[in-house]
Structures are given as C-alpha cells and as structure tokens.
C-alpha cells in the first residue's frame, strides 16, 4: 500500500494504530522514520505511550514487556449471595428458594450427601453388631 505523505497531524492520527502494531509494514516504517526525524513529535508519542502504559498498570492483568498478561489481584468482591437472593425473590422462590441451594461453600452438596449416607450405614452396622450377652443362669426376673 502506498504510504500517504506524512505530516505531524497525520502521524498523530496514527499514534494509536502504531502503538497497537495495527499498521502495515510500510506505513509503520514510515511513521518510525518520521518520528526519528521529528524529536518533538517523538516526545509526544512517548507521552502517548506512557498514558497507555499507565492504563495497563492500572489494569488487573498488567501487560508484561513480552505482551503477555500476568494475573494480578482484582478487587475483593463477592456477588453470589446478592445474586442468589435477587433471583430467589424475583423468581418467587422458584430458584434458590432454600438455603441449601444457596452458597454452600466449596464442598459440593453431592459430597455432603455421600458422607451422610456413609455415616448412616456405619451407624446401622455398629448398632446391629452389638452382641447382647445372655442372661446368667439362675437369674431371677426382677418382676417375680
């Protein structure tokens, strides 16, 4: 593509695309050469980049020099309880009507059910396996 004749204004209009590597090779090269020849505009471009870098630094996924994003902590927020409450109210109890369907932490309900079942089975077997000792011979029933 033929690169149009550049001046300060057209180069300024290309700052954004040049920064994001969205220009074609020839156009990018022309902008680079123009900035090299115009130190004042190059300073303006550096300030523009600094602003975008500052935006990146504000972002939770701060951009590393390689262009990759690193995970950074986001604002602490827990929306689940509020969402469940609103859904329960607006669905007139159709969804999230009981507290067990709500926020139960990180342990899934299925696991809780299995554990309760195991506990019940264990309790049953422990009760049936208790041996009843026979009454000693000659013992007289108390009621007599």
């Amino acid at each position: 593509m033929q690169t149009p004749r550049l001046n300060d204004e057209t180069v300024r209009d290309l700052f954004s695309a040049y920064h994001d590597h969205e220009l074609g090779r020839d156009e990018a090269e022309a902008v680079r050469a123009y900035l090299e020849a115009n130190p004042e505009l190059a300073g303006e471009y550096r300030a523009f980049c600094k602003m975008i870098d500052a935006l990146g630094a504000m972002a939770d996924g701060a951009r590393s020099a390689s262009g990759a994003h690193t995970a950074a902590p986001r604002a602490e927020v827990d929306l689940l309880a509020g969402v469940q409450s609103k859904l329960s109210r607006r669905s007139r109890g159709k969804f999230y009507n009981d507290r067990w369907s709500r926020n139960v932490g990180i342990v899934p309900l299925e696991l809780i059910a299995v554990l309760v079942l195991i506990a019940l089975i264990a309790a049953y077997f422990s009760m049936t396996s208790i041996s009843v000792a026979p009454a000693p011979q000659g013992a007289v029933p108390a009621a007599r």
Binding site: S16, E44, A47, A54, L55, L79, V83, L87, R90
Partner: protein, 200 residues
C-alpha cells in the same frame, strides 16, 4: 479463574438446564472480571456491585439465547457492557453523573488537582506513575461513555480487537478509529486536568 473453551461449553449446557450449582460456579468464576469492568465503566463501587449482580441475573434469565457462537465469557462481557450503557444513561437522567457519582478515591484526586500536577511534572519522582494513574482515573470518568467503553475493554481489560468487535457489535474499522479518538480524548482530558502537556 479462567475457564477453557471446553469447560465453558459444559458450563453453558449446565446453565441452560438451570443447574444452580453450575450457576454458583459461574458467578464465582467471573464475578471479579465483571465487577472490574463495570466498576471501571461506572466509577462507583456501590453502583458497580448492584449492576454486576444484575449482569449475572440477566445471564441466568437469558442463557437459552446463548448459541455458542462466541465464548461464554465474551457473551457475558457483552451483557455487562450493555448494562453499563443503560445504567449510565439512567444515571445521566438522574443527574448523578460525574463528580457526584465518583468513588471517594476519585473525589480525593479531584480535591488534589493542584498537587497532582506538580508531582507528575517531576520526571524522577518515584510516585509519578501512581499520580498519573490518579489523573487518568479521573479523566476516564470525564470522557464520552462510548470512548470509555473502548479504553476499558482494550487498555484496562486487555482484550483483543476480535473480542472487542464481538462485545461491542462494532465493525473492525469503527473499533480502531473510535479507539484512536477515545485515546486522544483521554489524552486531552488528562492534559486539561494537568494544565499542561503530558510529560514524555
């Protein structure tokens, strides 16, 4: 938490069955991202929390319309952005836009307008970046919401152009030209706040 494509597909299927456990997982997985986006768009924590909850409720109600043509996360962002635009219009009508709607942090920045400028002007000041961020945060609330939307998506959320196109429904050329105008508007707002050109 970032879910891969297959995990998102399975999750979407469970959401369509109105699986409440899946919905809990979904909210936990995406609440930070949604809140972050909404907070940056609105500039007010209380409003952002309320609106982020509404975003998830909309997902719950309209998951059947998700056809899987984009990623679940991208679709969620689109809902969040639309909610933000509507809420901004509503707040605008209620005249709580701008100064009155800002967080304390932004208010503090406003109050410190003078000192911020002098600190940013010192090139070797260790706090320079932080102060510039404060000015930028303030300036972001002053620019047009359509411009803010693109800066938040591209420069703050770090999304690719392809994702922004899906989320906003804009053509590629429009995204690029509008993003350029948005950054230029932000630069102007920052320079207006500083009272001088951005230091290079």
């Amino acid at each position: 938490m970032n879910l891969d494509v297959e995990a998102e597909r399975l999750l979407a299927e469970r959401l369509k069955r109105r699986d409440q456990a899946a919905f809990n997982l979904f909210v936990r997985a995406y609440q930070a991202r949604v809140f972050s986006l909404v907070h940056r768009m609105l500039g007010n924590r209380a409003e952002a929390e309320d609106l982020a909850q509404e975003v998830f409720i909309t997902v719950f109600k309209s998951i059947d319309s998700f056809r899987g043509e984009s990623r679940l996360g991208t679709w969620l962002y689109r809902i969040a952005v639309n909610h933000c635009k509507n809420r901004l219009k509503y707040l605008d009508r209620r005249m709580v836009k701008g100064h009155a709607g800002l967080d304390e942090e932004s208010d503090r920045t406003l109050a410190e307008g003078g000192p911020v400028m002098s600190k940013v002007d010192r090139p070797d000041d260790a706090t320079e970046g932080t102060e510039l961020e404060s000015v930028i945060r303030r300036a972001l609330t002053l620019i047009d919401p359509d411009h803010r939307e693109l800066i938040v998506l591209r420069d703050l959320e770090g999304l690719a152009y392809e994702e922004i196109i899906v989320i906003t429904g804009l053509a590629e050329g429009t995204v690029k030209s509008r993003l350029h105008r948005a950054r230029a508007a932000l630069r102007d707002a920052i320079e207006k706040g500083l009272g001088c050109k951005l230091p290079d």
